[in-house]
């Protein structure tokens, strides 16, 4: 069974600083990986996804993630954050061909001036 571990529950960061959110997964089969963002009082929005091909994936709002098969990781990065990036971020892995996901516990990013 797949599992997803987000290593940080909360990440404080100053505006215009870089941020990295860590995600590790366990799986014995090929996986598809996702990062979602949840702004306050909203549903989840897809940031980016890895299905195949290049291991560096670019998403919306300047975010990117790198799939590392040997490390079973899919870390999310942004070189310079804005106040508006304050949100909760979820890493997810697909668990079957129907599109069911296993989600991580989430990482709360708080951007301060």
């Amino acid at each position: 069974a797949q599992s997803v571990t987000q290593l940080d529950s909360q990440v404080p960061v100053f505006e215009e600083a870089p941020v990295e959110l860590r995600c590790n997964y366990s799986s014995s089969v090929s996986v598809y990986l996702f990062w979602y963002v949840q702004y306050p009082n909203q549903g989840l929005q897809l940031l980016l996804k890895y299905l195949s091909g290049s291991t560096l994936v670019k998403g919306i709002n300047g975010f990117e993630a790198e799939f590392n098969k040997s490390q079973t990781s899919f870390h999310l990065r942004k070189p310079s954050v804005h106040i508006s990036d304050t949100a909760e971020y979820f890493c997810a892995v697909s668990v079957d061909s129907w599109g069911k996901f296993q989600f991580g516990a989430g990482t709360q990013v708080v951007v301060t001036p």
């Binding site: 996702f34 979602y36 989840l44 061909s97 129907w98 599109g99 069911k100 516990a105």
Partner: protein
Amino acid sequence: DVKVTQSSRYLVKRTGEKVFLECVQDMDHENMFWYRQDPGLGLRLIYFSYDVKMKEKGDIPEGYSVSREKKERFSLILESASTNQTSMYLCASSLGQVRPYEQYFGPGTRLTVT
């Protein structure tokens, strides 16, 4: 744009009440999902449906049931609400086996059971 709507943003119910949470999507998606979201636990799948009248249990189905009579609508039912079902409930949909991997989420319903 895909739109997933949920019937209520906030709901307060009493212990023992039967509660219906409704979800509607407007993009003819085959798959629909119900999750609950709790701090520190992320999203956990309650039920999902891959077609009308088809349903499968997720990771935490106890105390819940679902109904999918029409393709666009997926209802979550709490037969007898309990305080430990106080949570945020999120509905999602995806296209099916053509593009099953992109789930679109509704805004969520925050349910409080007193």
